[in-house]
Symmetry: C2
Subunit: 360 residues, 2 copies
């Protein structure tokens, strides 16, 4: 029986091009290997066991997640090395869950304050065969301590009975035009400074973990030993506009139907409940069309994408199915229960978004 | 056994204050009744069978939805009068689903083009005991035909064998500072114009349906017979900033924990995967705190809300649980699998977000 065509499906849905995905997975693994960097992809982007398995098969050392519940999904799915790259605030319930995880995988947990380290130690007492990573602020000004204060947090962690493995940062200020170069330099400087702060405090540092998709190609081994890019598996409209990927490297698109037309615009049936509402100030719209580079999603409602069509071509007819590139693919994936996997337009599989909504 | 306190739960989660919700439901029902308007709340906001039941008990004539799959959820849950207020593009599969729905409820379906009406008729031939509503553009410039073209679309629908019940519009341009008044006037004018266009074409008009939460209190019977507000059940930070609701009318908040602190800011564990990333240009941030009116969610990542804290008060300690008001509550609800229902701080129920992700 022939595989069904993806165009027989009811829109809207998220489609993954398997060939492009595999190329992206392989390319990032090669980049990390060539530079002597350990690769620990952030699984929050895809939330799929099948994609984590492909990343690990290609050489990833483990996966990164943002929440305890994401860790639980990936460990239940067979991942054996997990880093929760988030400064968890641990209570009794979360402590018990972390102890259970630590019995089943090699576990690293983020911390960015002495109080956070003490809570983690208190509620995992005796049960915690995990390691701690101290989070450092490299310029994104979100979580993380200043590099020169990292040693104090590490000392507090050690004092509470925890084992410190290293330091990490997320150079989120790499998301902006021409920002990746300076952010990568900030990242290297912050990790080196934090490592120095830990060593001054007498705490050994084995892992210096950084990396975002925009900075990955700019990262050098030495001040960094490990990178944690996430978005690279799929790409998205943000990465297109930042120049981090080309349109033929986009592995995930939303299939959407033209439901309404007016002069200069068409309206598609994929809105913010399919694409996500992310729109950084520097973006040219709420998303792009993979096959129409000059069209822009100029407005987004929950079930409508209004696409401004270039005057140089005729807008597509009602009923046409178009491929929309979401601005931020992590948000789009987290709205879907499954991804439709296609090769050459044929549906070859469906992958469950196993960690969808795993926020706690 | 006492009810568990909501503060024993692991954050982040969405909490519904049942008393406030019931007040909001009752108040909108009274407003509609006082003005002689039929109320057909948009269920895309809450996606919960329990809330639809409360709205119907309070006098709503039926519910509004945006997709066929939302209609399927609410009909399976007992709703007997459903309006799909969206210009569906109907193929064979969707046509069969609409015929099945029409056997189980009183069904209205939106149309905004002659081609759309013809597709609807073709794929529901003989099975469609439903009525059609012609969508009109009242100034939001999304979907809908110009009012004076509504008669042509209605004639095409009638010619294809469909029954036309009336016209509808969504005055989405009411979402902006001082925009609700002009948008309500535009809405009344567009519906009246469309009704006149239908009558000139010899098509009877029984329903003139409009209404958004910002315009509901400005709507008068006559040019409008039915309103479809959605957000009013919960309120959100957009409505606060538009002046459509007060903070004590906010029925849904995200409970989030302070996980990190730095001078002038705290970071909470509810990010865009809990709150949604919606941020209109006129909003003062990505969300508000229910109990701290001068604080603002100034940046949002997937699992981080960065809150800029006013210099006039001391930021809360690590581990403090705060109530975050999302910018756009429809987006927040669609990210959650369930809502935690509380009264006076005690958990009294959990409601499933039954139509979560129902986009097709």
């Amino acid at each position: 029986m022939p595989s069904p065509s993806q165009y027989d499906l009811t829109t809207p849905y998220l489609a993954v091009d398997l060939d492009v995905l595999d190329k992206n997975v392989t390319a990032m693994a090669a980049l990390a290997s060539d530079r002597g960097l350990s690769l620990r992809p952030h699984a929050k982007t895809h939330k799929c066991l099948e994609i984590a398995a492909r990343q690990l098969d290609a050489g990833a050392a483990g996966v990164t997640v943002a929440t305890v519940s994401e860790a639980e999904v990936f460990v239940a799915g067979g991942c054996r090395d997990v880093f929760i790259a988030y400064p968890l605030w641990v209570d009794r319930a979360r402590g018990a869950r972390l102890c259970s995880l630590a019995e089943r995988c090699s576990l690293r947990i983020g911390v960015d304050s002495a109080e956070g380290a003490e809570m983690l130690a208190r509620y995992t007492a005796g049960g915690g065969a995990f390691e701690v990573m101290i989070e450092v602020d490299s310029g994104h000004h979100r979580t993380g301590v200043a590099p020169d204060a990292a040693g104090d947090v590490a000392l507090a962690a050690v004092g509470a009975g925890l084992r410190v493995r290293g330091v990490f940062t997320f150079p989120g200020h790499s998301y902006g035009p021409s920002s990746a170069g300076p952010a990568a330099a900030d990242e290297a400087r912050a990790l080196a400074g934090a490592a120095s702060s830990l060593r001054s405090a007498g705490v050994d540092v084995q892992v210096l973990s950084g990396g975002s998709t925009p900075t990955a190609a700019l990262t050098k081994a030495g001040p960094v030993t490990e990178i944690r890019p996430g978005v690279y598996v799929f790409g998205d409209a943000q990465q297109l506009e930042l120049g981090t990927c080309a349109v033929d490297e986009i592995a995930l698109t939303a299939a959407a139907t033209v439901v309404s037309r007016a002069p200069g615009r068409v309206v598609l049936d994929a809105g913010s409940k399919v694409l996500g509402a992310d729109r950084p100030a520097w973006a040219t719209g709420y998303g792009r069309l993979a096959d129409h580079p000059d069209a822009r999603v100029s407005a987004l409602s929950e079930h409508h994408a209004t696409v401004t069509w270039p005057s140089t071509s005729v807008p597509p007819a009602l009923g046409t199915v178009l491929r929309v590139v979401p601005n931020h693919v992590c948000s789009a994936v987290n709205l879907a229960d499954e991804l439709v996997v296609v090769t050459g337009g044929a549906v070859v599989d469906r992958w469950r978004v196993a960690a969808r909504g795993a926020n706690s």
